[in-house]
């Protein structure tokens, strides 16, 4: 049983990375979690301090925050359960091992329980602690809240397990119908972008003092208080943990167990069903006519197929490219609002180009980070790298086409984004124009460096992304900070931007020369996934 749980952990966490990459991943994860908790606590504490005098408002806002985290953790649990229960390789491996179904299911539940408790402790416990501090709760409250994750597990995971099979069926359906999948993905990404912009808007209003009064009118607070009774199951849980209501405990516990039981039944039924069916879908037959195309066209078609027909890239690249103009407009608009109102107004007056440079920073960051979703040029080939090596087409031609496709897609999205920003008057013409030019240069260098990293993969190790990460994250920040300093020193904006452009070109020129000179040798030396 323990071996099964360890196996699930190894499978889910991935064990292909070397020590350096694991440490780097752990640090990035830690930084991300810390940043998330800081933002979450900042928002929560600021709100609670603002509305602390109103009766029941603190508990209501705690309910709202916990309700949001409950939804996120339930969705996350659902997808964890989906990956655990419906992993084809896992099903195949376990089908002929001397382990019973009960052992398999219990080991997977143990894994889900651990992950849920960990996530809940990271994201929910700090909220309860912050509330306890501001509400001057007794020390026993803080101790009792440690068990909050355990109390939420059965209800949340019950819901997750109930939905796991329908979601698996839905994903299976979507994977077979590319256009429906793309449409569905766009709706989700669009929804997430709207949610993100709303949260950002609230955050900006909290930062600016005038906004806080507007945000928390009596009417708005009354709405939040009235929402509390609909926030199932968090309202019941807070009755138990905050109000020490013993009456709520038994009904909540019974309902949670009931839901968990139902969810578990669905998951067990689905698991047994999927174990015993062929995972190959029914065949369809269409008459086709052969259309011979040129070598270059064939390679372009292949690259497009690799990017657009792989569902992994829809969420990480193609979908994001489509919503990039919208997302960028939301974010930059919110950033500009924060820079032109409240305490930050002082800095904007002191540094004339501050708003422009922050806008440029976001345009650059969005462009390269979204492009990052598709620049695993060689890794995406997997075994077919041997096809690349044996086909009678120059390596340089193959690599050029390989890099060009995601680059051109990103450039189109960048162009549309900049036009949208200028048309909506979110940024002035000069910022939009320079944003496009600088981001295009950065993107080109970023793609070349990423290609070099991909070609440097040896002995089945994972790609090292140190240089591309420096290009994608550090360079825009270095540019923005230098530009802000120069602007403070009253250096004209045009000179600053041209200087920044020159810096980006100079930094990127070396890897570009190396890659163009050595692509053939690097390609032959590449022994990854062979």
């Amino acid at each position: 049983m323990l071996n099964l749980i360890i196996k699930d952990f190894k499978t889910m966490l991935g064990s292909k990375q070397n020590l350096y990459q694991r440490v780097a991943t752990a640090i990035f994860t830690l930084v991300f979690f810390c940043a998330f908790i800081i933002v979450e606590l900042f928002l929560f504490r600021t709100i609670l301090k603002q509305i602390g005098n109103i009766n029941g408002a603190k508990e209501s806002f705690l309910t709202v925050f916990l309700f949001v985290t409950t939804i996120i953790l339930t969705i996350s649990g659902l997808f964890n359960a989906k990956r655990l229960f419906f992993d084809n390789k896992d099903i195949e491996q376990l089908s002929y091992r001397p382990v019973s179904n009960t052992q398999i299911i219990v080991s997977k539940l143990a894994y889900l329980f651990f992950i849920h408790c960990l996530a809940s402790l990271i994201f929910e416990y700090p909220l309860l602690v912050a509330y306890g501090q501001l509400a001057n709760r007794a020390p026993i409250f803080f101790f009792k809240c440690i068990f909050y994750p355990v109390a939420t597990f059965f209800f949340q995971m019950g819901i997750g397990l109930m939905l796991v099979y329908p979601v698996w069926l839905l994903i299976k359906f979507l994977k077979k119908h590319f256009l429906i999948e793309l449409g569905f993905s766009l709706v989700i990404i669009f929804g997430l972008a709207l949610c993100y912009s709303y949260v950002l808007d609230v955050f900006i209003k909290l930062v600016s003092k005038n906004g806080l009064v507007l945000l928390f009118s009596e009417e708005a607070i009354a709405k939040v208080i009235s929402f509390r009774r609909f926030a199932v199951p968090v309202n019941f849980l807070l009755d138990i943990f905050v109000n020490n209501s013993k009456l709520s405990f038994l009904p909540f516990f019974a309902v949670s167990l009931g839901i968990f039981g139902m969810g578990l039944s669905v998951a067990i039924y689905a698991y047994n069903y999927v174990r015993n069916i062929s995972l190959t879908p029914a065949k369809t037959h269409k008459k086709r006519a052969y259309k011979p195309v040129s070598v270059k066209k064939a390679l372009i078609k292949k690259e497009l197929a690799l990017i657009t027909k792989n569902s992994n890239y829809i969420f990480s690249f193609t979908g994001l490219l489509i919503v990039q103009p919208l997302l960028l407009t939301f974010v930059i608009r919110s950033m500009n609002a924060s820079l032109t109102a409240g305490t930050l107004q002082y800095f904007t007056a002191l540094i004339p180009g501050l708003t422009s440079y922050v806008d440029l920073l976001f345009i650059m960051l969005f462009t390269v980070i979204i492009n990052q979703g598709a620049n695993n040029y060689i890794t995406m080939e997997k075994r077919t790298i041997k096809q690349m090596k044996t086909m009678p087409v120059k390596f340089s031609t193959q690599l050029f086409i390989k890099v060009s496709i995601p680059f051109i897609m990103s450039m189109i999205s960048l162009l549309v984004s900049v036009i949208a920003l200028m048309a909506s008057k979110t940024v002035p013409f000069t910022t939009g124009l320079f944003g496009f030019i600088i981001s295009a240069c950065l993107l080109f260098i970023f793609d070349v460096v990423s290609l070099w990293e991909e070609l440097s993969i040896r002995h089945l190790r994972a790609r090292s992304t140190t240089f591309s990460s420096l290009i994608s994250y550090l360079l825009p920040f270095v540019f923005a900070v230098s530009a802000i300093i120069l602007s403070y020193l009253k250096v004209p904006n045009v000179l600053t931007i041209l200087g920044g452009l020159l810096m980006i070109v100079l930094v990127g020129i070396a890897p570009v020369i190396v890659i163009f000179k050595n692509s053939g040798k690097l390609f032959l030396d590449l022994e990854a996934i062979n």
């Binding site: 065949k283 066209k297 064939a298 027909k309 790298i385 041997k386 096809q387």
Partner: protein, 254 residues
């Protein structure tokens, strides 16, 4: 036991594959230490050896997938190092693990291969239909995404893809892995027929029975060089003894 090691003379008109003094090392580990070998045109040639002895490395050097440290490899009139693109037009290659684009349908994949090798419409339709019928790969199968194929179906598709453009040399690295018995039997026939039509077949396999039954000549590689080269047509009794010779070369008790 008599094991013959030969160093044939180079004659461009006679040989499809010429490997001369081939050296390849991975770091400090020398895998090939001066391998010299010639494969005649129209020959079905078996290349065998125990695991990790350098069979796949030799093939990788032949097909231009890995660079070698020293030596010369010729495919027909093309030097693999000096004219890699020319050399790559001469062969069809099948790896032990299927390596086709899984996001494509079988048909799209074959269409892709045909476009890369400039196969005309008529040849494409004729070749793929013939090859698919030989390997029992249906038209309906070809319309399906390769990711849904079984291992054996993927391997069959790779076999079809490797012959679609009618290459002069057919290089197969452990081609029977994952194939059912009927497909293995059909593949044996296809290899034999291909060689009978004047084309060259170079095959590695752990299946000594397969090699001893169908090959014209067999080479056993050991310690980075050719340890034994046998003409099974001239010495038919070797066909039955091949397993014993193999064991003897590796110092194993028979």
């Amino acid at each position: 036991m008599n094991t013959t090691t030969t160093t044939p003379e180079i004659n461009t008109s006679e040989f499809a594959i010429q490997i001369e003094d081939l050296h390849k090392a991975y770091g400090d580990k020398k895998v090939l230490k001066g391998l010299t070998l010639n494969v005649k045109k129209g020959e079905l040639f078996g290349f065998i050896g125990k695991n990790g002895i350098g069979k796949s490395t030799t093939i990788d050097c032949l097909i231009g997938s890995k660079k070698f440290d020293k030596g010369r490899v010729m495919l027909l009139d093309y030097d693999v190092k000096l004219d890699p693109l020319g050399a790559k037009t001469t062969f069809g290659y099948v790896a032990s693990e299927p390596n086709c684009y899984e996001v494509m349908t079988g048909y799209d994949y074959l269409e892709f291969i045909a476009s890369i090798y400039n196969v005309s419409e008529g040849d494409f339709v004729r070749n793929y239909r013939y090859l698919c019928s030989r390997l029992k790969l249906g038209e309906k199968d070809l319309e399906e995404r390769i990711s849904n194929y079984s291992h054996g179906m993927k391997q069959k598709l790779c076999l079809v893809g490797s012959l679609l453009y009618n290459p002069e040399i057919w290089i197969l690295d452990e081609p029977t892995v994952g194939l059912d018995i009927m497909a293995v039997e059909e593949l044996k026939k296809m290899m034999r027929e291909y060689a009978n039509h004047g084309k060259t077949v170079f095959v590695t396999s752990h299946n000594i029975d397969l090699v001893s039954r169908i090959c014209d000549r067999v080479c056993i590689v050991n310690d980075g060089v050719v340890a034994g080269l046998y003409d099974l047509n001239r010495e038919p009794n070797r066909r039955l003894q091949l397993s014993r010779i193999f064991m003897h070369i590796y110092g194993e008790e028979v």
